[in-house]
Amino acid sequence: MHNILELEDISKHIQGSQIINQVSLSVIEGEIHALIGPNGAGKTTLFNLITGKFRPSDGKIFFQGKRIDHASIHQIARKGLARSFQITNIFTGMSVYENMRNAIVARYKYDLKIWRLLKGMRFIDETTQQFLNRINLADLSQEKAGTLSYGHQRALEMGITMALDPQLVLLDEPTAGMTAEETSAIVDLIRQITKNKTLVIVEHDMDVVFKLAHRISVLHHGEILATGTPKEIKQNRQVKEAYLGGFFE
């Protein structure tokens, strides 16, 4: 058991205001680690720092023992750290099939090849089809991604992320805006397609968090209040005051 991801005293200030303040966090290989906290606590910013979208103002980030806080987005993604987005982020003008194929092409590093046609690369087509089957979207493969229902778009978003075969996955509010039914479907999907992966998940739905997570970290005003097992977090006094409030009373 070792730490796949380590944040050491990460800070980020944007235009004078401190968004993230000396956050240290370690994610153990194989665990599902939930990141919770009220709106504006800095959860998405933290994801943006880890994935290279923002550069930390201070501190270090290690992924599999190597520093990544100055690597660019695509370099970090290539190392095996993938993310999904809070606001659905797919290629809306392209078909479901093409969306998935884009991920497969990138994963096998064919994305800059210019000596052959993309069409007819059997290996790519087969792998794409496999992943579409896994997220149950094979029937909709020719539909434009932008015309899918919200739940299906979220599933596609998750599928694209998982198709990269990452070692560590950051999921940013996978169930945001979903009906109860869609939520349980997506939770099943997460369980099924993230087997044997390390997962960091930002989530507001406490049922989902306590059902999935092995460990939980609570972020409040850009600082980590506590990290622990779901049981420990439930009993933590500070956390109760700041965030969970009456949730378990």
Partner: protein, 325 residues
């Protein structure tokens, strides 16, 4: 079915182009050669704007680099074969494209467009002022006597319109096929991803800067090829090849024909050359009418006139399928 129909259509166009010299006067051949030359130029621009969504206001830079390089080769290196001069022009454009790419590709949309404009204007200024090399505003002339050695046919002069016509036809078919292939490679697909959602493409692990860098080189290579052929066709080169009008010609062609479809720029080149020719016969202020046409197309056919063709094409396809069933 649809695919067969498309191939049939293209084959007909090429066949017609091959047969044109048998029934059209020389002057018309010149115009058609110009259409093909513009088609190459506009297709190279399609790779930027249509495929990747990059707006450039300085595409004349590569056109001009091709034109001047080929002209200089023809003048100063008479032993160099004409085809090699054309290739040298394209290569020079490629280098120019890579240079522009290296400097500008991290800029966002409009800054990038202005950056390309600045680069083209810089080359324009050099062409004006470096009289020793470029002849300044007198331009360059003096290669009408060159000959190209063909297998079986012997050596034929480039002042022969028929030779030029077929030469340009060959190059334009080649260049268009090359670009068509490019849009369908994995890189072409990646560029389409950049247009759709470049943020997501980066998170998939794609080095979007490298992708754009290759694109700039490729597009410039093809654009410079059209410039080189222009040198052969017009037999003179002046700083005009670098100016803003040449840069905006390609924007106008793309909008008239439609820049979201591969065939759009080709149709656009045809319409542009003929419109310009016949409007100029009617009035010296032909740009005024061209402007009105341009604005109307932007307003009523934002996808370009290729839209009309496409809907007609679909109708034929549907009726064919029905009669088959």
């Amino acid at each position: 079915m649809r695919r067969n129909l498309t191939i049939l259509l293209w084959a007909t166009v090429v066949l017609l182009a091959l047969l044109c010299p048998f029934f059209l006067p020389r002057y018309q051949l010149y115009l058609l050669a110009e259409v093909m030359l513009y088609a190459i130029y506009a297709i190279s621009y399609y790779l930027l704007l249509g495929q990747t969504g990059i707006l450039s206001f300085g595409h004349a830079a590569y056109f001009g680099l091709g034109a001047y390089t080929t002209a200089l080769c023809l003048i100063h290196l008479p032993v160099m074969p004409v085809l090699a001069s054309i290739f040298a022009g394209s290569l020079c454009g490629l280098l120019g494209g890579l240079l522009v790419g290296a400097f500008l590709l991290r800029l966002s949309k409009f800054y990038l467009a202005l950056g390309t404009l600045a680069f083209a204007q810089l080359l324009w200024a050099i062409a004006w002022t470096w009289r020793g090399l470029t002849g300044g505003d007198d331009g360059l002339i003096g290669w009408a006597g060159h000959k190209i050695a063909f297998p079986f046919l012997g050596s034929l002069g480039i002042s022969n319109m028929l030779v030029l016509y077929y030469l340009i036809l060959c190059f334009s078919v080649g260049a268009i096929l090359l670009c068509w292939f490019f849009t369908r490679t994995p890189l072409g697909n990646t560029l389409a991803c950049l247009k759709s959602n470049s943020d997501r493409a980066q998170f998939l692990g794609t080095n979007i800067y490298q992708a754009k860098f290759i694109l700039f080189g490729y597009s410039a290579f093809i654009a410079a090829l059209s410039g080189s052929l222009y040198t052969l066709l017009t037999k003179m080169v002046s700083p005009k090849v670098f100016d803003m009008e040449t840069s905006f010609d390609v924007v106008v062609i793309s909008v008239i024909g439609g820049y979201t479809k591969f065939a759009g720029p080709i149709l656009g080149s045809f319409l542009y050359v003929y419109l310009r020719e016949y409007l100029a016969e009617v009035t010296a202020r032909w740009q005024l009418i061209m402007g009105i046409i341009f604005i109307s197309i932007v307003l009523y056919y934002p996808d370009g006139l290729i839209q009309l063709f496409e809907s007609g094409f679909k109708r034929i396809n549907r009726s064919l399928r029905q009669s088959n069933a």
